[in-house]
Symmetry: D2
Subunit: 441 residues, 4 copies
């Protein structure tokens, strides 16, 4: 499943005609199945914690999304393959019907994996019909929802990678997902630098009717005032985080938010998720199995609490999402590694000869970066109408914003304005962080 | 998997030579796999509640038992297929090593089902070698442990049926286990009668070194005094239990033990497990799917609390295990239906022409019968030595005794002295009950 | 509150006339208040765990019992002081009305302690009227219920002592209940011996209409067969239990029932409740504050699980309740110390010159002795009718029988047939144990 | 305890000399005790939920604060009254020592209420010595900490009122706190209007070394950009909230944040805390007992989730904290009712003849107003050094900001920049809300 070329191109500019979405639709659907190809049937069934869904549930749910929001309303004569799926694969759309309880997704042996693939192909065929011959009066809505469904499936591609990693990591046998992942080229350590931004009134977010796709939670574009600040040129690395551990970072309550300290003690946290120490060497579980940590790769699988504690220990802080977006929008060398690279693990900064080394790099890709901002609506935010309005807006409490995508995000899915969010306790995403600070006068 | 003939004969008298156990061993192993043959791969993985184990875990655990207690100590040169299995498939033998946590059996996708079958066949082959050429100095121990391992696997055959039923029943799709179960012949309702016993000093239990196999918890034979009592001629039926429901049995606290009342309200019990009402008709989930209840079949999937409440409502009581055993030992027509019948569901009493209709029947088979006795050791009880001592003795608190086997018990596994036990809250076993009362003067 | 004379005599033989219960009623009521006299107002309010009730709740509940079962039905013109008390102080009588939830008794600041004493005295006065001038047609019922209410209040006297100890022990200040407890006279260690019993058919329990009071759960008298056995001449002592601890008794799963092992690990048990080690010395919290343990006193505040594990470690077992009762009924020197002694702590055996030292002593008093018997009804058991039937019968699952009373039991309350019961996990009662074994041939 | 005059004046401008704090210290201490004067001893002991502290704990903790941060470091020869209090009354200062577990504050009967008053007066006397004769070299620190301790005790005055209300409301007897509360004058309904703000770059927060006291979390002053917005002229009223209830607001998931919806269903919310319906009339529990709701008073005891759902239902939103602060800073008629009014209940807007009715009123007092802002640090935020740094900073996750104080806040304690915070689920504070919206073009 590894390759050097982009997995698939999704149009960056938003086409208006349903027909234009046919090929992207097929591409996305194929990649999802490609991601699952190394799995054993048994792996598809497991729910290793409430937040994780069985891979076969992901396969079915993204299919349900197309069926529910496109086929049922717009494909004349469409007959669902199985009426029960509407209940089973509704994730959280309360206004659509009573969703099957999330923590019980892992007790469903049926439909089988084969039946779910059958469901996928049944819906694929119907989607082919709909996109090829859309009813004219709904053409625009169909194009918009096809686009949304494709981005939705991309999100679940990343969730699949995260969840598969969590599932396999719980198993004392610690099986590798596959032995055929790409090996990253050798890296050279890069010292962390600081880059100053003047601040002032900046624009954040995107307009609802822009040419490029964006989620409702990135909208609308609006102004924010930023005090002058500085941003680190790269994320915090494993080596730096080991230093934090060795200096007692997990044992000093003065460094931690109260909720984080309580949770860390309760759960016995002493290092990032998936880490263990043998002698003086730290190892971690990766999708290719147990490996020694790469000192120069960004630290990953830390919660917001750990990122925040590290920043306090370092005498710095996390950037706000506005600071981060402002920097990312104005940086040329922002790309790191995505799902397309086929590493499925964050890797150290690669400095290309054409980069301005003084400026922040690796903003997109490798690790999602925790920001210091709680996930709340932008001024003027309007959720999508109908059940689709439950897509983003209803999660705007209790979560922190992460930015930039990671090694499991499709490259065509991410952009500087993209707002991801997780509870501050979450660690199973590919989440790291970067430091910021007030400008030095 | 249904047949009219016994599934397999296990020698009723205990042979002393390992060689004699080779064929029974093969028979038992084959039946276990036969029971799983209708399953989809996905079904093998599910743990629908903490008390349920994934079918593939059962397949591996019974294999681990032979490996741990026979192959490793006695087969020269035996090399385990996978060292990790010792931890993964140890059920609860704390003195043997740290068992993998029971509630997490359902997060193990690996080893796969295919690998577990490979493990089984690997162990089967080694067992063939050991039983065919046992080292002379351990011959007696090997024969004893082979016998124990076979009975242990029979227990897990019943657990497999119980657990598969629970797993499939959780699924909103309510799939049938198989459509190829035997259909029971038509039954004729039989009125419940009472049969009197004089009581006095009776013998209960069996001697440790008897000719027939028995578990340590059935030993030793000892005397008990029984006051005169009467025992119902058959178990309570579905129809009788519906009457209890309709008379408000689930809503009157005066009928219930305190723990039972609290649990029933907390869990919202209004009928036996797997039952639901449609209009005035009660249906229940069976291994052949949803069916209307058979009014004349014994009520099944009730907890001790429900059995006890019914008895109080009826003005009677449950028999003690000593009363039950005394009656069962002295009754000619005690057999009902077992796993071998292939119904996998309790059925109504069949009255054969040669039966004495006045005497209690159907004591063995169809449903395990809750007794009024807590599960405690007999006077003089000695647990097996070493880790095997954890087999029965350590569960002698918090549980009630059930007697007689059920429609999922192999016929060759049960006997009147057999003591099964479950917590009073358990409902997923094939558990029913029979009434008793003090003798009328 | 300490004294050498019995706290109060309750008639051993059951009088038939309500008038005869007037003085015993007043005596019992006075002792309850005497027990509370060392408390601060704040102590009356605390519920230190779900099983503990605030002392002021006990004071009110026993009063409610007299009001509910005597004054309201039988005292013409009786007007309750406060209608809300019927809900607040109903302990668990579901058939009487919806009881206030037990775990929330500790959030009730009102009625205040003063109001509850007012309630007591209001009811005392009315009870004086009723017992002095009982309506003739209910005379017998009134006498029976007065007797029951008095025994009920005696039970709560012991619960008060247990609960006060638990409440004060949670407080890091570890306040003494009072400094005015009686100091026990010096004791001389007595070696433990064994006394043989022949067994055979024995009588257990008492007839419902006997001359002496007994609870319904002690009835009816019936026969049991006992195999020959031996009983230890005294309970296990602190010194013996320290030996068990030092030999790793809390760390060897082979000694423990499965439920007990899991609980002990979960709760971090390493010694009896209220114990702590300083250097090599064990201390424990008592109602006079922290004290070094007395090596010769019976071990106390152990669960059934710990008692059972000790017995297994010692190669012996606990007696059944029938064995215990048979021994206690036929032993002349059975008395130890009760509430009346004013020690409120078990003390070592005192050997009087007129004792037969070979026979079991100290069966009554000092510590409740865990038996190996689950708490179940006797053959022919009939609960009291009406709401009073909830008194004992509905707790007959999930509990083990203890026998003999303790240092917090009024001497006039206990008898050899008395059946107390607690869940096997309970430790806050004054619970110890004595060993038994099969007879040696 | 009711009066028309301010309860006590705390200097608005921050004095530099410890002596100047002596009288304010005495005033604050006296008010705290005055607030407790209607309580029964028993009321002081209760912890009705984990978030509530027993009143006697509040009395002791605020005293501990002065002892820990002033007397121990700065009063030569100070000897604590009881060394154990340092552990018992440390709220959450992990760097100071191991705090006594919060959920167990309600199991402490000792120290008694009388002992805690003794502790207060002991510390009061020592504080008198310290403030009258401060060591010169620490004079400034002592003045700063005295000021902080006084504001800290004011916060606990409000918490006392909230907690007492919660404690008494749990009791089925629903006792009034006191019958001597001030009765508010009759109110006239005022229609809600909207007032527009231009937005732009505004200043938020206060400078650390300003003349007036402020908490670290209000600092530093910094710029923010506000899009044009409109703010409601008064909080949402009970009558308006009843309309939301009647229109199905609690039953439509489309109105709710996901966390809020799940919580509301789990807890069975159908109205604000303390409300119940009788016929068509809504009643609520107040500190003077059960009363019909006042239709024109601000709705109170709603969670952030309910406020947010109401706003969505109304087609509006909650203001951000920056919007709110900007409006409050520039509004002349901002005062409502505080602790000093003696109502202890929010009351409807009183329109004074000198008010500009078009502008937002009642911003300070009556109800804390939920904002749409998560509680996070301002740019450039620096926590206090040492253990005092745990005062505010470590709670900056998982909480929402509320502004403006309430009917239980001392008038001298509140200011437009003041940031209060609670989890979005909290309802026992006097919390209401006001609507905002984007400016209409």
């Amino acid at each position: 499943m590894a390759q050097a070329e982009p997995l698939y191109p999704v149009p960056v500019e938003e086409p208006n005609a349903p027909e234009d979405w046919l090929q992207p639709f097929r591409d996305v659907r194929a990649v999802t199945e490609q991601l699952c190809s190394p799995l054993e049937t048994e792996d598809y069934v497991i729910q290793s914690m409430d937040d994780v869904s069985p891979p076969k549930w992901h396969l079915a749910h993204v299919t349900w999304f197309f069926e529910t929001f496109l086929l049922k309303p717009y494909l004349r004569g469409y007959v669902p393959l199985n009426d029960a799926y509407d209940h089973l694969f509704n994730s959280y759309y309360e206004t659509h019907g009573d969703p099957f309880p999330r923590p019980r997704r892992g007790i469903l042996s049926r439909p089988t994996v084969a039946e779910i693939y059958r469901y996928r192909h049944y819906v694929d065929e119907a989607m082919g019909l709909l996109l090829s011959n859309p009813p004219a009066e709904h053409s625009r809505t169909i194009a918009e929802r096809a686009c949304l469904g494709i981005h939705h499936e991309q999100q679940h591609q990343e969730l699949l990678v995260m969840d598969i990693k969590h599932i396999l990591a719980q198993n004392p046998l610690r099986p590798a997902y596959t032995n055929r992942l790409q090996t990253p080229p050798p890296r050279h350590p890069v010292a962390m630098g600081w880059y100053p931004y003047e601040g002032g009134v900046v624009s954040v977010g995107v307009e609802p009717d822009g040419e490029e796709f964006s989620f409702d939670n990135e909208q609308p574009a609006h102004r924010q005032y930023l005090e002058p600040f500085e941003l680190a040129t790269r994320p915090v690395t494993n080596q730096e985080f080991v230093h934090f551990i060795e200096q007692g970072g997990y044992r000093d309550p003065a460094l931690w938010l109260s909720d984080g300290w309580n949770l860390a003690r309760q759960e016995g946290w002493e290092a990032p998720l998936y880490w263990r120490q043998e002698g003086t060497q730290w190892w971690h579980y990766t999708l290719r199995g147990w490996c020694p940590i790469d000192p120069d790769a960004p630290v990953c699988h830390v919660s917001f609490y750990e990122a925040d504690a590290f920043a306090r220990w370092a005498g710095e802080r996390l950037p706000t999402e506005a600071e981060w977006e402002h920097a990312a929008t104005h940086t040329p060398n922002r790309h790191g590694n995505f799902l397309d690279s086929g590493y499925l693990q964050p890797v150290g900064t690669r400095v290309r000869h054409d980069f301005d080394k003084r400026r922040p790099g690796q903003l997109l890709g490798d690790v999602w970066e925790w920001t210091g901002s709680a996930y709340r609506p932008y001024p003027g935010f309007r959720a999508l109408s109908g059940s689709l309005g439950e897509y983003n807006g209803k999660f705007m409490s209790g979560q922190m914003v992460l930015r930039g995508g990671c090694c499991a995000t499709p490259a065509s899915h991410i952009r500087p304005t993209y707002r991801n969010f997780f509870p501050p306790s979450a660690r199973w995403a590919f989440s790291g962080f970067r430091l910021a600070r007030e400008a030095r006068q």
